[in-house]
């Protein structure tokens, strides 16, 4: 008798998701799917609002990566009202963005994936969490907390608060950086860099001991996408979009304003989240990955010294070809943290960083604007159209998690087929399925957090609709 296994919600990711694993009669997996169940509806919600409010509305999408939405919205508003931000304002925005990536990646590596890496996939779920890490390796947990705080403090310094900052506006930013603030951030750079390098050493140590898992676990062939500088080096804040194929060869390099010429979205009836793909190749041949693994594969080099050397080592993992193993998202993530910390130092050393030329008040109103940046989880696109009064008539948001939708679902399928044999489903396997999703660090929606909600429940359901097994974690 075939059966369907449901894992809902996937633990340690933001928003709501469900995994169903459809079994064959012989106890092997027929196919596994990742369902995104939450319909956000934020685009509709924003229509009718003035475009210049978007930097303050869209961060409400999420409490984890609000800065990415804040800055992408500001870039789209710059474009829409025809007010390019002055160079000092762009430096300050990039500085805030670095703070966002540092805190988000730091939190993911040490607190979400860290339990898997430090304690093992098969550790008791009661201890395989951030508290388990704090008990087992308090010195690492303290460094991780300090790293996240460093990123949060950059955001707070510039935006006045750590979540939902009030900083970027159409045409620039509303606050210049003071010398004392610059010095306070600089004082934290060395210890943050030490913590990030510790993360890389943890990952390498783990990779050395778990090569079998890494090479069995969701090894996928796909394209890769990232924003790059003119020399194809990494840029998380601004530049053209580069798309490479599964061999790492450049397919396209285009200005973000032309994204609709290159990217289309496929719809499946089992998920609210669409599946973006490279238009010329069609779906699913044109699927690609974004985020840390996508970026490290799509760029030729990383410009800062320590991260640049680490990126060269990353490139050797598959002899110069793209690194396909999903679990190397974690390695790529920590290389990016190192890059961001080094970039913080570069930005703070730039003579323009203390300039008060931070707002362009001239307008050349276009009525349409596109803002793109590399959010922690991948390429984030905000596209607005407004009428002559500035009221939004159309809003399109392609969030980073969406680009990775195909990859996450394929990763779940791959892991399920690898680890479920003979119909036997164990806790360690379930966590591997979830870890396949977690590696992408998906952020599915903003969330509510009231006490008493959302226990973990796994149901095994027969084709007749009968629940044959229920596993729950409160």
């Amino acid at each position: 008798m075939t059966q369907k296994i449901t894992i809902e919600p996937v633990t340690r990711i933001e928003g709501h998701a469900k995994v169903t694993i459809h079994m064959k009669d012989d106890g092997s997996v027929e196919h596994a799917y990742l369902h995104i169940n939450e319909f956000r509806g934020f685009e509709k919600f924003c229509e009718g609002r003035p475009y210049f409010e978007m930097p303050f509305i869209t961060p409400r999408i999420c409490g984890i990566c609000p800065v990415s939405h804040h800055l992408a919205a500001a870039k789209a508003a710059d474009d829409l009202q025809g007010s390019p931000a002055p160079r000092p304002a762009n430096l300050l925005r990039e500085l805030m963005h670095m703070g966002q990536v540092i805190q988000s990646h730091g939190m993911h590596f040490f607190e979400l994936s860290g339990p898997d890496l430090l304690l093992g996939f098969d550790a008791d779920p009661a201890v395989r969490n951030v508290i388990g890490v704090a008990h087992t390796a308090p010195e690492i947990a303290l460094k991780a907390v300090g790293l996240r705080r460093f990123g949060q403090e950059i955001i707070r310094t510039l935006g006045g608060r750590r979540i939902h900052p009030n900083f970027a506006v159409a045409g620039g930013v509303n606050k210049a950086l003071q010398a004392s603030e610059r010095d306070a951030i600089l004082a934290g750079v060395d210890s943050a860099l030490e913590a990030a390098q510790l993360g890389i050493s943890i990952m390498k140590d783990w990779a050395g001991r778990n090569a079998e898992d890494i090479n069995k676990f969701a090894v996928l062939k796909s394209g890769y996408m990232s924003i790059v500088n003119a020399d194809d080096s990494l840029n998380l804040y601004d530049g053209d979009i580069r798309l490479v194929d599964r061999e790492g060869k450049q397919l396209e390099k285009f200005a973000g304003q032309h994204y609709l010429d290159y990217i289309a979205e496929h719809v499946e009836n089992w998920s609210y989240l669409k599946f973006p793909y490279y238009k010329k190749m069609g779906f699913p041949e044109g699927v690609y990955r974004v985020g840390p693994l996508g970026r490290m594969n799509a760029v030729d080099r990383v410009s800062t010294p320590v991260a640049g050397e680490e990126h060269k080592r990353f490139k050797t993992l598959n002899n110069g070809h793209p690194v396909e193993q999903t679990l190397y998202f974690h390695y790529a993530r920590m290389i990016e943290v190192v890059y961001c910390i080094e970039r913080v130092r570069e930005l703070l050393d730039d003579p323009d960083i203390l300039s008060t030329d931070i707002l362009n008040t001239r307008k050349d109103y276009k009525g349409e604007g596109i803002g793109i940046l590399e959010a922690p989880r991948g390429t984030l696109i905000h596209h607005y159209k407004a009428d002559e009064t500035g009221k939004l008539t159309s809003v399109n948001l392609i969030v980073a998690t969406g680009h990775n939708n195909w990859a996450m679902s394929e990763a779940v399928d791959s892991v399920a087929k690898t680890y479920i044999i003979g119909g036997e489903v164990r806790e360690g396997m379930l966590n591997r399925v979830e870890a396949a999703v977690r590696a992408h660090d998906p952020c599915l929606s903003c969330s509510t957090h009231a006490v008493g909600q959302m226990p973990i429940q796994i149901e095994v359901i027969s084709p007749e609709g009968e629940v044959v097994q229920t596993i729950s974690r409160d």
Partner: protein, 172 residues
């Protein structure tokens, strides 16, 4: 005795943000001038600080160790029978369905693990009914705010009274 009132939730999702209304009520009750925006910092009273966050996060553990007592304020749903619940909270090593959402017990556990001390703590939670994209509380949850404020204020006054009594006893 230093006390921290820390509320958390998402005020853009209706009743999920009830904690801000409770904190605001306690602060006003203590004679403080409170902004109408949850995004502005809350003022401090003698021996009491107020803090509102969208969620509890690990780096707050260090901040909490600066206090003798902490009152967590949140919304609740589900099987909790009371409309306004007040319970003691102790450090507890819990499974976390959503690690981005730390529980007060887990945060206190982090205080103990990382800093070898944790404040005494309670959790006051208020039943939520509506969690849509709105900033206004549902009528029933709104009606529970004053009870939550009174219970928090009563807790704060009783611990302060106990502390004064203990201090006098030591002097005598």
């Amino acid at each position: 005795m230093n006390t921290l009132f820390i509320g958390y939730g998402n005020p853009d999702r209706q009743d999920d943000g009830v904690a801000w209304h409770v904190l605001s009520g306690i602060a006003k009750n203590l004679g403080l001038d409170v902004s109408s925006s949850w995004e502005e910092p809350l003022p401090s009273a003698p021996k009491a600080d107020f803090r509102f966050e969208l969620q509890l996060t690990p780096e707050m553990a260090g901040d909490l160790t600066a206090y003798d007592r902490v009152c967590f304020v949140d919304a609740h749903t589900g099987k909790i029978p009371e409309n306004v619940q007040m319970v003691d909270v102790t450090p507890e090593y819990q499974t976390s369905p959503f690690t981005h959402h730390l529980t007060p017990e887990m945060l206190l556990s982090m205080c103990s693990s990382l800093y070898n001390k944790a404040p005494e703590a309670i959790l006051i939670s208020v039943r939520g009914y509506e969690f849509g994209f709105e900033t206004k509380l549902s009528p029933f949850t709104a009606s529970l705010v004053s009870e939550a404020v009174e219970r928090a204020r009563g807790w704060f006054e009783s611990i302060e009274a106990n502390h004064r009594f203990l201090k006098m006893s030591l002097v005598v």
